[in-house]
């Protein structure tokens, strides 16, 4: 009996430390369990780490993901080229035009300055006329030119040359055939004389000029008479881009084949307003 008590005593002495360690471990495990399973406690621990990662990501985002993003954008553009071009064409066209218009404006101002310095008989005549009439010198000079006027407009499907709509002051020629011939001329010039992909922009004959504005799936041909000033050309360009953007895109999205009469009606509205100076 004494031997058994002594053995128990020995066991107690020997395992005391182990038991304490086990209890301590159980305590730590329970704390860890709480930290992992109780949201508030987990947040306290994890939030600083996430914040650090967030800052790290923000500072190194382009370095970490730049190549993958560039690659996926490149792939997306390549796979949906038509949609991207259709969407960007009017925007890029407008941006480039605005830039060029600004540059031309600067050039025009410089020319004006030079002209003011010039001591020519014609210059003096214009100046005298402007002084007497009370109108600006520029306007007197412009009025000397014949006023430009839109005679006809054709909306033509790009490859087939099929007429999609037209606006005309005089119905003298067959517009379907004119549309076809304009497409053929455009195709011939672009095939024959350009090594890179470039567009025919205008055709001149005597007092008439045909301004061509190409878009992805169609082009617009505007027959104008009179002297085409830069300001008129610029205004016309804006109006054509606007027309393509507002009318043609909508017409295409409504039905697969936009109705010719409907489109011609919208053309007349748009360009009558343009000539009346409402736009």
């Amino acid at each position: 009996m004494e031997q058994g008590a002594a053995f128990n005593q020995l066991k107690k002495i020997l395992l005391e430390q182990d038991r304490e360690e086990r209890d301590e471990l159980a305590q730590k495990l329970s704390e860890l369990d709480q930290q992992l399973n109780q949201k508030e406690k987990l947040e306290v621990r994890v939030d600083p780490i996430l914040k650090d990662q967030e800052v790290h990501l923000r500072n190194n985002f382009s370095h970490l993901f730049g190549p993958q993003i560039t690659e996926s954008i490149r792939k997306q553009i390549k796979d949906s080229q038509d949609e991207v071009v259709e969407a960007l064409y009017p925007i890029i066209g407008r941006m480039i035009k605005k830039y060029i218009t600004n540059e031309i404006q600067k050039l025009s101002e410089k020319v004006d300055q030079q002209m003011e310095l010039a001591f020519s008989w014609e210059g003096w005549k214009i100046r005298i006329k402007a002084w007497f009439s009370g109108t600006p010198q520029k306007e007197v000079m412009l009025s000397k030119l014949i006023e430009p006027k839109i005679e006809e407009i054709f909306v033509i499907e790009r490859d087939s040359g099929i007429l999609m709509g037209s606006f005309s002051r005089s119905e003298s020629v067959d517009q379907d055939m004119v549309a076809g011939m304009l497409t053929a001329i455009k195709a011939f010039v672009e095939d024959a004389f350009t090594s890179e992909k470039q567009e025919l922009e205008s055709i001149d004959y005597e007092n008439y000029k045909i301004v061509l504005k190409s878009f992805k799936s169609f082009f617009l041909a505007v027959v104008t008479s009179g002297g085409m000033s830069m300001a008129f050309r610029d205004k016309l360009d804006d109006q054509l881009i606007d027309f393509a953007d507002k009318v043609l895109k909508n017409a295409r999205s409504e039905t697969e084949e936009p109705e010719e009469d409907k489109l011609s009606g919208r053309l007349a509205e748009f360009f009558n307003e343009f000539e009346n100076g409402d736009k």
Partner: protein
């Protein structure tokens, strides 16, 4: 309902493409040969199954090889008439190859093959040539007499709106 369709006429030079159009559009024929430079556009409105079909006909200058023609003339075509001269073997010897090329450029456009100038050849010889070509659905025509001209354009118009 009205609809417009682009039709191209292709084939070797001197096979009678312009004459076929002249016959079809203007009901005229001339023996004088004037080579087509580049392309010439014509138009004719046909009534097909209560539908008004405006054919915009592109008379493309003759070439022995269709690949030499600017692609922009061919693109967007809704229908093709391939014309050869039944009296000149050189105009149909590469026919299958040319048709393959065209179906590559215009996979969805119906193509009708025309053996023109049938008035210059006997019926037996005609049969011989067609057997040699071994292609189904070839139309034989004569721009001079007007035989089958209208029928060919109508068949193409029907195929285009089908």
């Amino acid at each position: 309902m009205a609809i417009s369709k682009k039709v191209i006429l292709v084939g070797h030079f001197g096979v009678g493409k312009t004459s076929l159009i002249r016959r079809f559009v203007h009901q005229k024929f001339s023996d004088d040969y004037l080579t087509t430079i580049g392309v010439k556009i014509d138009k004719k409105v046909l009534k097909v199954d209560s539908m008004e079909v405006t054919l915009i006909i592109w008379d493309i200058a003759g070439e022995t090889n269709q690949a030499k023609i600017p692609k922009s003339y061919q693109l967007g075509a809704h229908g093709v008439l391939y014309v050869f001269d039944i009296t000149r073997p050189s105009t149909y010897q590469n026919l299958h190859e040319q048709l393959d090329y065209l179906s590559g450029v215009l996979p969805n456009a119906p193509v009708k093959v025309i053996a023109n100038k049938k008035d210059l050849i006997s019926a037996e010889k005609q049969e011989e040539v067609l057997a040699e070509i071994a292609l189904d659905g070839i139309y034989t025509s004569s721009a001079k007499t007007g035989e089958s001209v209208e029928e060919i354009f109508e068949a193409l118009a029907k195929a285009m709106i089908a």
